[in-house]
């Protein structure tokens, strides 16, 4: 009669070590795979919550701010008297510097046909102060609004603007949908 070999303590430890190493390897692999495929998040502004306080220009760690004005052309009235472009007390509806609301002349006014004008944002000049947004929202259709431009944003762990935003309009959202541009983005009810 042949004696069955008995498992020694050494075999048990060896098997246990192998199994735990496999389990650890599997867990690390799964974690890495999850991180690779997981949805990334970015900071963005909800234009319907924004109260155009102007803090985005000064609170961002970037200089100039990563927040810029964007224009929803499908909402714009193409008005001659644009509340986002002209100062309320402008002496003339013209492109003269003294009549412009924007402190950096980042909005270009282009004549289309009488009496319609197109307003185009020069992103490099815009500092994200939202003065034009306030003017457009208060006196116009609200087609101008601010957004965090993702290729300028450092995507800090804690957004310094979000921390100070009085209307809590800045929150993380999925990177696959990085912007809340009015017109396609509507107010949630």
């Amino acid at each position: 009669m042949e004696n069955k070999p008995k498992n020694s303590r050494r075999d048990f430890i060896r098997s246990g070590t192998r199994i735990s190493m496999l389990v650890t390897l599997g867990a690390v692999g799964a974690f890495a795979a999850k991180n690779l495929t997981a949805e990334k998040y970015v900071w963005q502004i909800d234009p319907f919550k924004c109260t155009q306080c102007g803090r985005c220009a000064t609170s961002c760690v970037m200089t100039p701010s990563a927040v810029k004005c964007v224009h929803a052309y499908n909402l714009c009235g193409y008005c001659d008297l644009c509340g986002g472009y002209l100062k309320p007390d402008a002496n003339k509806r013209s492109t003269a510097a003294e009549n412009q609301l924007c402190p950096t002349a980042a909005i270009q006014r282009r004549f289309i046909e009488e009496p319609y004008f197109e307003y185009v944002i020069n992103e490099d000049l815009c500092i994200g102060c939202a003065k034009c947004v306030k003017g457009c929202t208060s006196f116009g259709n609200g087609s101008l609004h601010i957004q965090i431009i993702q290729n300028r944003c450092l995507n800090c762990n804690e957004c310094s603007i979000a921390r100070l935003c009085p209307s809590q309009a800045i929150a993380r959202q999925k990177a696959s949908k990085p912007y809340n541009v009015k017109g396609s983005f509507t107010k949630s009810t």
Binding site: Q52, C53, G54, R55, A57, T58, C76, G77, Y78, C79, D80, L81, C82, G83, P88, D89, L101, P103, E114, P115, I127, C129, A130, K131, K134, G135, T137, S138, F139, G140, N141, R163, L164, C165, P166
Partner: protein, 319 residues
């Protein structure tokens, strides 16, 4: 001795940590931040000299509609549309009748015989009992009906989408269009940056149409010829500002205009000549950046403002 030094060090450290936390907490409070050089304060444009306010709010009527959009007044009855309903209300606030509608309405007009309900792309004609008479569907895809008025069997429909005033006979047959263009260089066709395009007949039976992009009120003959107009573009209280104002208007019994504005929401009156008269309701009475109230006026000159945000009819009488 050694332990005492450590205790003192820890106490000092704790005080420093608490101090840093307190300073940080206070400095990040929105109301305790330093002044913002880029803040655009429009409060000065919403303030009104109290001497100009000649009306007071006498009462208000809460209405049971989620999204009221339009009001009309005829023979001591208020006709309010919103959601998918027409509500007929007594001036006391008692609901007399409610009529369910097929679509969301945009405006309402009431004549001696009929109730006209504007939908976005069609018009519903009811008799005064709320029974359907006809649907008028001969509108373009881009049509947005915003206002209706009738005079001597001719129905005028403001189409903000096509930027024209359409004319129909009472059977709903098209009778032409008013484009608002004139030979005079001073006036342009209708400029409608957003769907606010109102028209109404004054007590003398003259058709007045708002050209909101120009801040003008324009008087047309029934044939569509521009007779006269007045303009009031200004950020000041005397004028209209923004891209599309006045959003709504009505007439007082003496032919004066009552206007309501969007953006900086307010109600004012203008003399029949177009000269600014007084203020009915200041922006402080309405929601900030709210909707322009639709208007109706009774024979005594009481102004009924349909507050779309507060969902109520607000009555203003002369002081």
């Amino acid at each position: 001795m050694k332990n005492k030094g450590i205790v003192i060090f820890l106490i000092v450290l704790a005080v420093v940590i608490v101090g840093v936390i307190a300073i940080d907490f206070n400095s990040t409070k929105p109301d305790q931040q330093p002044a913002n050089p880029y803040e655009y304060n429009i409060d000065s444009f919403t303030r009104v000299d109290t001497a100009l306010i000649k009306y007071r709010e006498s009462r208000n009527l809460k209405i049971n509609l989620e999204e009221p959009v339009g009001i009309a007044l005829h023979e001591n009855r208020l006709f309010v549309v919103g959601d998918q309903k027409l509500q007929i209300i007594e001036p006391t606030g008692r609901l007399v009748q409610e009529v369910n509608l097929d679509q969301k309405p945009t405006c309402v007009y009431v004549s001696d015989k009929n109730i006209f309900i504007g939908y976005r792309k069609s018009l519903l004609l009811l008799n005064r009992e709320g029974v359907k008479i006809a649907d008028w569907n001969s509108f373009a895809d881009s049509t947005v009906i915003t206002s209706i008025a009738e005079q001597s069997g001719i129905v005028f429909v403001a189409d903000a989408g096509k930027r024209i005033v359409r004319k129909f006979n009472i059977e709903g047959n098209p009778m032409g269009e008013i484009e608002g263009k004139s030979g005079n260089d001073q006036i342009h066709g209708f400029i409608i940056p957003s769907p606010y395009f109102a028209l109404a007949f004054n007590p003398s039976g003259e058709l007045w149409v708002v050209n909101p992009g120009k801040h003008t009120l324009e008087n047309y003959t029934v044939d569509g010829k521009l007779r006269t107009w007045w303009e009031a573009t200004s950020i000041k209280i005397e004028g209209f500002s923004g891209c599309c104002n006045p959003a709504h208007f009505a007439f007082l019994p003496d032919g004066s205009f009552v206007t309501s504005e969007k953006g900086v929401v307010r109600i004012k009156t203008y003399k029949p000549s177009g000269e600014f008269a007084n203020v009915v309701a200041t922006p402080s009475k309405f929601k900030v950046e709210g909707h322009a109230p639709d208007l109706a006026v009774d024979d005594q000159g009481t102004i009924y403002a349909l507050d779309l945000d507060k969902k109520m009819i607000r009555l203003f009488v002369k002081k």
